[in-house]
Symmetry: C2
Subunit: 102 residues, 2 copies
DNA sequence: CTAGCATATGCGGCATTGCCGTATATAAAT
DNA sequence: ATTTATATACGGCAATGCCGCATATGCTAG
């Protein structure tokens, strides 16, 4: 076999798997281990929701400045932000629903 | 009536409501407006899950250092982190479920 | 055509956080 | 008493969060 035809997703999965194995060997087997995407396309997520930067920011609680910086590549969203963004990308309604009660 | 018997949660709700009204008057009526808790008791959340700082961090993708800093009051989790933490506090299973597919 | 409004871009700037590393408590277990 | 797991306490620097503002871009009405 070869490595041809593999995309970054495959690698992400492999990395996650390897980390799980490492954790297992270290005795850390309490189960679930979060996979934090190392990069997020904020603009794409926002676009998929047809919202302005301001609207998107207000909807999910980000500051406009941060959304701007992220989209302009001036700053990279941090871990927690990346997770939240990924969740928004995946299940916006769920995220909104849970956030409503906060 | 009096203000007796009201806890911070009541006020949080009122603030959120007032902000919504303000946004409405400003013509920002695309709906949902996130309410980002200004403070979060990380230790309490983690304790409610019976996890070590390390386990908690790994489960949700935070860095151990950050969880430490948060619990020791050395740093305040940022917006996105506060939202995520609040969501974890409210619906840990949902958060985990959505995160599994990332 | 162009004035006006909504959005987005670019960027200076500083306080604050993220995150790494490590040395030191604490407490429970062997 | 020694080991092991967990938490505390900081030093420290790179990087982000977030504010404010000037400028560009696009669209729509006059």
């Amino acid at each position: 076999m070869t490595a041809e035809g593999m995309d970054s997703e495959d690698f992400e999965g492999m990395i996650a798997g390897l980390r799980d194995v490492a954790n297992w060997k270290k005795g850390k087997r309490d189960g679930f281990v979060a996979h934090v995407p190392s990069t997020v396309d904020v603009r794409a997520i926002r676009a998929a929701h047809n919202q302005t930067q301001e609207g998107f920011a207000r909807t999910y609680g980000f500051s406009i400045a941060s959304v701007r910086d992220w989209e302009q590549g001036r700053r990279q969203p941090e871990r927690a932000a990346r997770i939240l963004l990924a969740m928004i990308a995946k299940e916006p309604q769920t995220v909104k629903r849970v956030m409503e009660g906060l």
